[in-house]
């Protein structure tokens, strides 16, 4: 009969330690998550709501926002020629990136391949522009693009080859392509790095087997390498598009969106209205439109690829 209470006591003890473990777990979860959660809610989530709110006001930033105008800001933005120009420029950058920059990166990655002597040296060199700041990159390229052929390197070469010099950053029809060239210089190494890693994950045996079966290098590339690189290519497309939507610093440093809005992107448009003209309500609406575009694209991407490969926010 004395046996029972002892057993009971033992059981209770076990229960207590279980509870202890659980409270301890809770404390750790709360303490570990708290710093990230506070910063994230304060500086990322809350601003979204705040902007949605301000985007319905005609607010110049002085005093409280009182002039409620509903969705007028959105209507104005979506019919503003300059904003449509900015969207067109972003679409040009996306098209050129997917059509030229990523294929170039892929070709170079395949050329470097697995075991070319000097492989890691080339990787180091091609990736170097990625780590330089956009400000420095922009200024460097402004030197190269100088319209005067006695000062600008690119124009001097054009003149020597018998072409007319081009005012790269001052010609409304050329400027966006000039910016694209700089973007390619800076970012193709990053995509190449992704492809190189992807290539390394493809087992060598598959390509060897295809070769023994009589596939030449070109067949090998199109029927073996390319399909197996699929998920890497999707990742790089995703990052390229998301990067293009938010393009800001390089454009701002090189042209301020000019000449006459010819190189405006959505982000420079938002910056101009928010921080230069101080139309904060209008600028908020631009921010929300850009956020929605990024979100639609991300959700589409996830729906199309199912397994989300893409992780970093770089």
């Amino acid at each position: 009969m004395q046996f029972l209470p002892v057993a009971k006591q033992k059981l209770n003890l076990a229960k207590n330690t279980m509870n202890g473990r659980r409270t301890q777990d809770r404390i750790v979860i709360a303490l570990f998550l708290l710093p990230a959660l506070i910063l994230f809610l304060l500086f990322v989530i809350y601003p979204i709501f705040r902007s949605v709110y301000f985007s319905t006001f005609d607010w110049k930033g002085f005093g409280p926002a009182v002039d409620y105008i509903g969705l007028d800001n959105y209507k104005k933005i979506l019919t503003d020629e300059v904003f449509l120009k900015a969207i067109k420029n972003v679409l040009i950058i996306i098209t050129l990136s997917l059509g030229l920059q990523l294929p170039l990166a892929l070709i170079l990655a395949v050329l470097v391949g697995r075991d070319l002597p000097g492989r890691s040296l080339f990787r180091t060199i091609f990736f170097l522009p990625y780590v330089l700041s956009e400000v420095n990159t922009g200024i460097m390229w402004m030197l190269l693009y100088n319209a005067d052929p006695t000062r600008g390197f690119i124009n001097s070469i054009m003149v020597q080859l018998g072409f007319e010099p081009i005012a790269w950053l001052a010609d409304m029809n050329v400027v966006i392509f000039a910016i694209f060239i700089t973007l390619t210089w800076k970012y193709f190494g990053f995509h190449m790095l992704l492809y190189l890693t992807g290539l390394q994950n493809i087992p060598k045996e598959i390509e060897e087997a295809a070769r023994i079966d009589g596939a030449n290098s070109i067949q090998n590339f199109f029927y073996i390498t390319l399909p197996l690189l699929g998920s890497t290519i999707k990742t790089s497309v995703y990052m390229s598009v998301l990067g293009s939507i938010q393009q800001f610093v390089l454009v701002w440093v090189m042209t301020r969106g000019g000449p006459v809005n010819a190189s405006e992107t959505m982000a420079t448009y938002m910056y101009r209205f928010g921080f230069v003209r101080y139309q904060l309500g209008y600028g908020s609406a631009v921010a929300i439109i850009m956020f929605i575009l990024c979100m639609i694209f991300s959700l589409l991407y996830q729906a199309l690829t199912r397994k989300p490969d893409y992780i970093t926010g770089l």
Binding site: D25, V44, I45, Y46, T124, S133, R151, Q246, L314
Partner: protein, 289 residues
Amino acid sequence: MGKYLTTPRWIQKVIPRIIIYVFLISATIMIFIPIVILLFGSVKTTGQMYSHPYSIPNPPNWENILLILSTPSFWNMLKNSLIVMVATTGGTVSICALAAFVFARMQFRGKNFLFNLFTIGLMFPINVAILPVYFVLRQLELMGIPMIDQLWGVILVQIAFQLSGNIMILRGFFTAVPTDLQDVAYMDGCTNFDFFWRIMLPLVKPSLSAVGALVMIASWNDLLVPLIVLNSNQLWTLPLGTMQFQGQYGQDLALVSAFVALSAIPTIIFYFFAERQIVSGLTAGAVKG
């Protein structure tokens, strides 16, 4: 017989190699042209810059470099950039490691919801969020918490926008550590905190330095956050100072080149030392997670 008429094996192998190298070397030249012209320009006089803009500087003229190195504002910018970079990197790595550990190793209600909440950050990058963030900084300022024109304003915003991506990268690394290890540790009476601190952290150290290297570069190169947060020029960081310098002395190409070269060189040196970490961080983030 036919065997002797075809081109020898080694030629079949060498010719494609040569073509590949020609391609790769021309791409290398393209990469180096802007950098080399900048470095040449940085050691020219303004006169040389106009008469021979892209030749090898002969003799090199160190005047502009020395002039910039002797201005206190350059060192001040360097100091500000360093403070911001160290604080942002330390903050991001430690905060993300804590959160990533919880998401990788603990079970609780609402875990999926919270994790999905953090993925919103990926769709709201700082270039899009900058105006909304500015509202919040102003609001905090009005509430008596100084944020604008303060280095910690820059630091906190930079950390906040580094969270989403890096929590996900680190969660991947934490998840990769075998669960058996956790069971054994708990059986031996290890608390959660001990397990995190003594077992997990040492195991994922290489990943932490990979994430750290990426954050360092992002913070060091960031223009946008300092641009909207900082007003007084004694707080400017290097990229912000570089942009303002270019605006002010844009006509003097030699002087601007010297300034840009001086602000780019630390990044290039850092890159050659930390390339392995940077590359492994980026590929972990983008390819697997």
